[in-house]
Structure formats: C-alpha cells, structure tokens
C-alpha cells in the first residue's frame, strides 16, 4: 500500500517569547543537536515513506537551512523525495493550527499528482519515535477513510490540543478541546485515504480558514474515523517549562533508549561534524546531555548543552538548556535558564529562574 507523508510546519505558539521570534516551532532546537521537525521526518523515513511534503511557514529560513534537500532523511531522491511547500501567512486564526485547510488547498497538487493510496499527516513539534507501518497496515484493513493516532495520558493533566471520545468499536465518537475525563489524547497525526483527502478539500473548501481537525470536530455526524493507539513516549512542548522538561527527558534511561538509541529507527538530523567533547580536568558533569564540539571546564547538572558550547572554569549550569555556540564565562551560574544560540554570559553573572518558568535569553544576547 503506497503511502506518502505530509508534515505541517506552518504553526507557532505565542508562549515561547524570544525563542520563536525568528523561527517556527518545527525548527526549535531540541535535545542538544536536533530540531523538533527531525522527529516527524525521521518517523516518516523510518517507516519506508519516500515522498514527504513539508508545509513551510513564511519565516522558513531556519527550517529550509535545516532540512536542505532532505538527504539526511534519505529524501534526496529522483523518484519522490522531499517537497518543501509554502504555507499561507500566519493569521490569528492559524496560530497553533496544525492542519489549516488553506495550507492544504494551496498545495493540492501534492495530493493530486501522486498515485499513493494513503497520506500520513503529521505535525512537527512532538518528540516521539513511532513506526507507521502498523498504522498503515491497520488502516488498510478498515473501511474508514481516516485513522487518528492517539496516546492515553494521565487524567486531569494539563494537555493542550484535542481529546478523542472513542466508542466500543474503536471509532471516534467525539473530538473535544478539553479532556472531559477522557484520556485519549490526539497526537497531531493521522492517516487518510488520498482520494478521501481530495474529496474533503473539495467539500469543505469554503471553510479554508479552519483547521482540518476543527472541521472534523464540528461535522462529527458525517465523519467515520478509526483510531490507533501509540504506546510510546510522547514529548509535548507547549511552553518553555515543557521545553525544559522534555529536553531533560533525554536523561531518562528508558526514554533515551526508546526514542534516541533505537538502532531500527534512528532520529536523523543535519550533521555538523563537530569534534568530540573535551572535558578538562576541572569539569564535573552529571545527569546531563552534552553535544559534540563543547569544551567543558565547569559544572553541569541536569542540563542539555548543545554543540560547540564553552563552559568556563567554576561556572555552574543547573536545570538549563544552552543552545549551540553559547559561551558561559568563568564563575557564571545559570539555574532554570534557556539560552538561545550564540548567547554569551559574562564572567560571574548569576541567573536563577527559580521554581517557575525558565528565564529565556534570546539569540545572540550578551548578559
């Protein structure tokens, strides 16, 4: 059963402040060397999908720079490969919307020109490692045109997005934006028959300003949607606290093995070819993730350090994320801080984020 993929990267979030000033959520650096879209792209590539469209936002510079021709995900191909497609400009309506119908209509040729049976539609801001092959297999056996992927989450937790009410036959009975005690959290990922997708765009074309899930939600009586449960780790990032937490999840043995160290399904990213990390005699690094090219002379605890960061003598970094090319001066102390690329912290500067939201230091700032 031929399946193609479509990844939506045309959405942001208003709660990240400086971190998303010049980039989309999809290209937010994550986990020491990744960008969030790496997970969607790798999941597609690892599931044998060789034609992938990416709907890019208007501020797509960092995304295009990162994805390139898609060759890191084996998508630099003659037959199929990567299709980078323009989305519509951000509007108030679309902020946070994953599958804005206007974006899909604008790129309807992507769906028309291929002869695939199915399309897997995915957001680009979750940290997860999923094998789509069982999803495709299950979907090919149902007569339903759509299968939504969900994850059971603890009840009462503050999740942002859609919850599914699933009936005894496994069919979606209702979709809501609040949990209502349901624990079936929609993962921003579904598979759809390509023919049905074209019909859907045709039927609901007048509602192009709406999100596809929103259209489904408000037209439930005409929808026939199957479900597929994802049982692995799902790192959802909706604000800087989540961002820090989902970064720190990389230190969890089980999550690290499941998401990052699965030899069958590696997470690919753009390679930079940095040198190994040099831990000098004074370095003291614990429970942390450090990326290549760093030189460490200070202390690092429960933190994520991206590539080519320098941590000076006597500096202390705790519960923080330091993105690439950061320079942390001698004796500086950072606690609960997220520092964007090329941030410079002068000698002796002390920043404590306290117990609340982390302090965010914008790109290229010096403090």
């Amino acid at each position: 059963m031929k399946t193609i993929g479509l990844i939506s990267a045309n959405y942001g979030s208003s709660s990240f402040g400086d971190l998303l000033e010049n980039r989309t959520l999809a290209s937010l650096p994550y986990g020491g060397r990744y960008r969030l879209i790496d997970f969607a792209l790798s999941n597609m590539a690892n599931s044998g999908i060789t034609t992938v469209g990416v709907i890019a936002p208007y501020n797509s510079g960092s995304l295009i720079d990162h994805i390139g021709d898609g060759s890191e995900w084996s998508l630099g191909r003659k037959n199929g490969g990567l299709f980078l497609m323009p989305g519509s400009a951000f509007g108030v309506q679309s902020r946070g919307s994953r599958f804005l119908l206007r974006d899909l209509l604008k790129n309807i040729k992507f769906f028309e020109r291929d002869d695939a049976d199915y399309v897997i539609m995915s957001g680009s801001s979750d940290v997860w490692n999923i094998d789509f092959e069982p999803l495709i297999k299950q979907h090919s056996k149902t007569d339903k045109p759509i299968t939504m992927v969900y994850k059971k989450v603890p009840k009462g937790e503050d999740y942002h997005g859609y919850f599914l009410n699933i009936d005894d036959s496994g069919k979606v009975a209702d979709i809501r934006t609040e949990s209502f005690g349901w624990s079936n959290y929609f993962t921003d990922c579904f598979i759809v028959d390509r023919d049905y997708m074209l019909d859907f765009m045709n039927w609901f074309g007048a509602l192009e300003y709406m999100d596809m899930i929103e259209i489904m939600r408000t037209n439930m009586e005409t929808m026939d949607i199957a479900t597929f449960e994802f049982k692995g780790y799902l790192g959802k990032i909706k604000n800087p606290s989540d961002f820090l937490k989902v970064n720190q999840a990389m230190s969890d043995y089980d999550i690290r093995n499941e998401v990052f160290c699965n030899p069958e399904r590696q997470i690919y990213t753009k390679t930079q070819d940095e040198a190994p990390v040099f831990h000098l005699p004074e370095a003291d690094v614990r429970n942390s993730v450090i990326s290549a090219g760093c030189v460490i002379e200070g202390r690092v605890e429960n933190s994520i350090i991206f590539r080519s960061v320098y941590v000076g003598k006597g500096a202390v970094i705790r519960n923080s994320v330091i993105m690439m090319h950061g320079e942390i001066g001698d004796g500086a102390v950072l606690d609960n801080v997220i520092a964007d690329k090329y941030v410079k912290i002068n000698e002796g500067v002390k920043l404590y984020g306290g117990g609340g939201e982390p302090i965010i230091i914008g790109k290229e700032k010096t403090i």
Partner: protein, 376 residues
C-alpha cells in the same frame, strides 16, 4: 571534461600488520581515530580543504568497511560532478588479474584511471597519517620550481633521523640524496610519504619500473632513487606542523593522547581546514548522575555512568557504573560493563567487556583488547 591541475591518489591498500588486532578485520585507513574519526578522514579532508576534488583511493586489504565509509565522498564535500572519490581495487584484464605488489605498482595499475582525468600533476598520499596540510602550498612550490617530483619533508630530531627515509638537499632545496633509515644521517629532513609528481614524469617512471624485474615497485625504494639517478628535478617541500605516522599501536595510542596532552600543537579540532568525517547518527552523549569525567574526549552517543580519566570514548561507547577507565581509548560502540578497571588499553570497536574485568595495567605496554565487531 575540464583538465585537472592535480588529482590525488591515496594509498589505502596495506594491511597495517603492526597495528595487530586493530586491523584484523579492517583496512588501516578505516581504523577509528580520536573517537569519531577514521584515519582516512585526515587525508580526504586535506584534499578538499586544498581544493583537490578528485581522489582515487587504492584499496586491497579488507576494504568493505572502508568502501562503505567513503561512500560517495559526500561527507567530505567530494561528491562532485566533475571528479569526486573513486574506490580503486585491483581488477582483471585480458591477461588475468594481479594484486597490487607495491605502492608504485598500485599506481601503475591505475594509469588508465589517471589518464581519464589527464591531470598535470598527481599527488600521492598515504592513508595512515594524522596531520592537517594545505597541499596547494606544496603544489605551488612544485610548479614554481618546475620540479618533476616534490617530496614533502618534516624536520625530525637528529637522534631520530635514522628511523626515517632521509632527504639530503642542496641550498636550493633540491634533493641530492635519498637514504632509507641511514645509520649516520647527513640530514634531518624526513620524507612524509607525500609526493607530487608531474604526471608525465611519473607515468614514464611507472612504465619503466614495471618492466624492471629487480624492482620492488615501491616509491621510496625504487621510483625516487631511479628518478634521482636519471637527473630528474627533485625538490623538497618543508612542512611545518603536527604530523604523525600511526603505523604502530604505540604511535596510534600516543597520537590520540596528544589530542588531550598537546592541544597547542595538534590542531585537528580547530576550525580552519576542518577535518570532516562520515559519522553515524548518534544522540548527544549522556553522563549519568554519578559520572566522573576529567581530561577526556567523549563523543556523541556515549553513555557514561562510571569514571573516565585522561581517556577517549568513541561514538556510541558505554561505560558502566563503578568502572574506572584511565589512560585508555574505548573505540566506537564498545561496551564496558560495571565495576571494570581499564588502564592504558585500547578497547576494540564494538567489543563488550564483561562486568568486573580488569584490562591493562599502568606499567605494561598499551594493549588492544578484543576482536573488532564492526557493524555497518
């Protein structure tokens, strides 16, 4: 096709038997170095950083991992339309097949390959040296002096000169004498095994050498003495900087320890003339709650729960809790269990060291532990 000013031929076929277990299943240029590199990265990166975009890699001994590693050359920006990397194994002809019998013989067998590119000059490289070098500077000198052959040399301490192939020169840096490991050297300019020949002169020398039944078909032993005797114009190019031949276990170990001990001199990690590699995709390293790492180089994909002192951990290596790794090199994807003691040892690629093992000792020689288990 555009005529090439200079193409490189990289000799990567030797067994490297002095590296013992390190090369029991892999060609020497493909042996891991500095945690994430393979030895051939230095030669290939030098080529691309010197503007040489066409490289023939002569393989013969266990080339599978090397072939796979080099791939299209893309990792070194050498996947170019009008050149690129070419893996050149021995191949059969109408008269049958022959192995490469020596360094010069290997090039002789690929005269047709070089003729395809019809370069003005050919750079001959070894696949087992650790150094950064701009070959373009050497080529410029070769062209300025209109030499038939330019040999790159490095000044070595006089007391060590008798271990090298020594070039004696006149005041114009023309080579007057070549002596292989002379007992009483009259120069301290050691050949680095890096040559630039004008293709015309080399082509002629190779054809004649092939007919010479007494020849061992080696550049150092046969081709250079022959050209010198014929009065060809041979010059030296004086290279200054870090350069090591890592042909023995000890030199292989020492050169890697230099990455931590001799940071001033060994410049392989600096941004100028960057050394590229074809590394597998690994997540960043994870250092556990009780990890204790000092004065060490740790690569992507490593997981460390124990203590690592003055050591190198290659990509994907694991060090268990309670283990102490000291003055050692753990090659990529090796797994050292819990409560082990690894001292002055090289743990081979992909090897598993069981819990509670003691490997190596402070006073002993550097040992290589285990047979490499290489995965693609």
């Amino acid at each position: 096709m555009k005529k090439k000013k200079c193409i490189a031929m990289l000799l990567a076929g030797g067994q490297g038997s002095r590296l013992g277990r390190l090369t029991s299943s892999i060609a020497k240029p493909a042996v891991s170095f500095g945690g994430k590199y393979r030895i051939i990265d230095f030669g290939l990166s030098n080529c691309v950083n010197s503007g040489i975009d066409t490289v023939g890699i002569l393989v013969q001994y266990k080339p599978l991992i090397l072939n796979r590693y080099v791939g299209t050359g893309e990792s070194w920006d050498l996947a170019v339309a009008d050149g690129g990397v070419h893996i050149l194994p021995p191949y059969a002809r109408e008269t049958g097949g022959e192995w490469y019998e020596g360094t010069a013989d290997a090039i002789y067998h690929n005269i047709d390959f070089i003729d395809i590119y019809d370069p003005e000059n050919v750079l001959i490289l070894s696949g087992d040296h650790i150094y950064k070098m701009d070959y373009n500077l050497m080529l410029q000198e070769h062209l300025d002096k209109e030499s038939d052959l330019t040999v790159s040399v490095i000044e070595v301490p006089w007391e060590e000169a008798s271990r090298f192939g020594i070039m004696s020169t006149d005041d114009q840096d023309r080579i007057t004498k070549f002596s292989e490991k002379p007992a009483e050297p009259d120069s301290n300019l050691a050949s680095m095994g890096i040559y630039i020949f004008s293709w015309k002169a080399l082509r002629k020398a190779l054809l004649e050498d092939h007919e010479d039944k007494a020849s061992s078909h080696d550049f150092g032993k046969d081709i250079i003495p022959k050209m010198l005797a014929e009065g060809k114009k041979l010059s030296v190019y004086r290279f200054k900087g870090y350069w090591r031949d890592v042909g023995t276990v000890q030199s292989y170990y020492d050169s890697q320890m230099d990455l931590m001990d001799d940071v001033e001199n060994i410049n392989v990690f600096t941004k100028d003339m960057k050394v590229f590699s074809n590394s597998n995709m690994y997540p960043p390293q994870f250092l556990g709650p009780d990890a204790n790492i000092s004065n060490s180089l740790i690569c992507n994909g490593c997981t460390v729960y124990g203590t690592v002192k003055h050591s190198i951990l290659g990509s994907g290596a694991v060090v268990g809790a309670g283990t102490v790794v000291e003055d050692s090199i753990v090659l990529p994807n090796a797994i050292v269990g819990r409560n082990c003691r690894i001292t002055k040892a090289i743990i081979n690629e992909g090897v598993v060291v069981e819990d509670n093992e003691v490997v190596g000792s402070e006073d002993g020689e550097v040992i290589v532990y285990g047979q490499a288990k290489l995965s693609i």
